[in-house]
Symmetry: C2
Subunit: 128 residues, 2 copies
């Protein structure tokens, strides 16, 4: 079982790598057969090739991930975090309010990720 510290450190590394636009570092946090369901309710991406393509596209928005509260671990192989993905546009800041739940391998690699947010959790500035 991964430790609480391993899981929290991996999630913090994920935030940090995403925010410095380090695609390789984000993908390296995943296991080879990991799945990403982002957002939850859509078909999962599976394996490093699909996951890398997904993050390359995600990072193109230039958004910055800001934790809303401390990362939570668990009594099992999962951890969870609430954050805002904040994007700066010419019209002002927009944000997507998200909760990610990740499961981890014995070695502390991300084995699955699910991102919970709905259309109503997306706040974009008015286009004027």
């Amino acid at each position: 079982m991964p430790t609480e510290a391993q899981m929290k450190n991996a999630m913090q590394s994920y935030i940090d790598a995403f925010n410095r636009n380090d695609l390789d570092a984000v993908v390296a946090l995943y296991s080879d057969d990991a799945t990403v369901e982002d957002p939850y309710g859509t078909p999962a991406k599976s394996g490093k090739v699909q996951i890398e393509a997904f993050y390359r596209a995600s990072m193109a928005y230039g958004s910055v991930l800001r934790l809303s509260a401390p990362i939570r671990a668990s009594h099992g192989d999962a951890a969870a975090m609430a954050f805002d993905a904040v994007v700066t546009t010419p019209q002002g800041e927009g944000r997507v309010k998200v909760i990610d739940v990740m499961t981890f391998t014995e070695e502390g690699l991300i084995n699955s990720m699910r991102a919970y947010f709905g259309p109503g959790d997306i706040e974009m500035p008015e286009l004027t």
Copy 2:
């Protein structure tokens, strides 16, 4: 599919009912065959009898649930929220930092609940 508003309203009702110690109202938010895995990593409670017993015991601590950030819905049948369960002791406030993920029936009843927190997410005041 339950709507985003249905799921968020149910979660807010859950917080409100818990905080006014209304056991019946909490249990009424669940479907008859719901499961509760609280904390994640432990055996799930299943069905209304076990779920009621679980909440009766939980509520005996007198804790108050305080949202850490707005409730998130999803593009599917689930929603998620980060909160602190705050307990007041003679030695001061303690808290458990939690993220709950719930799935919902068509009718907007809670079908499953998983609570993510680990031993390291429990902060209790020093006993002096």
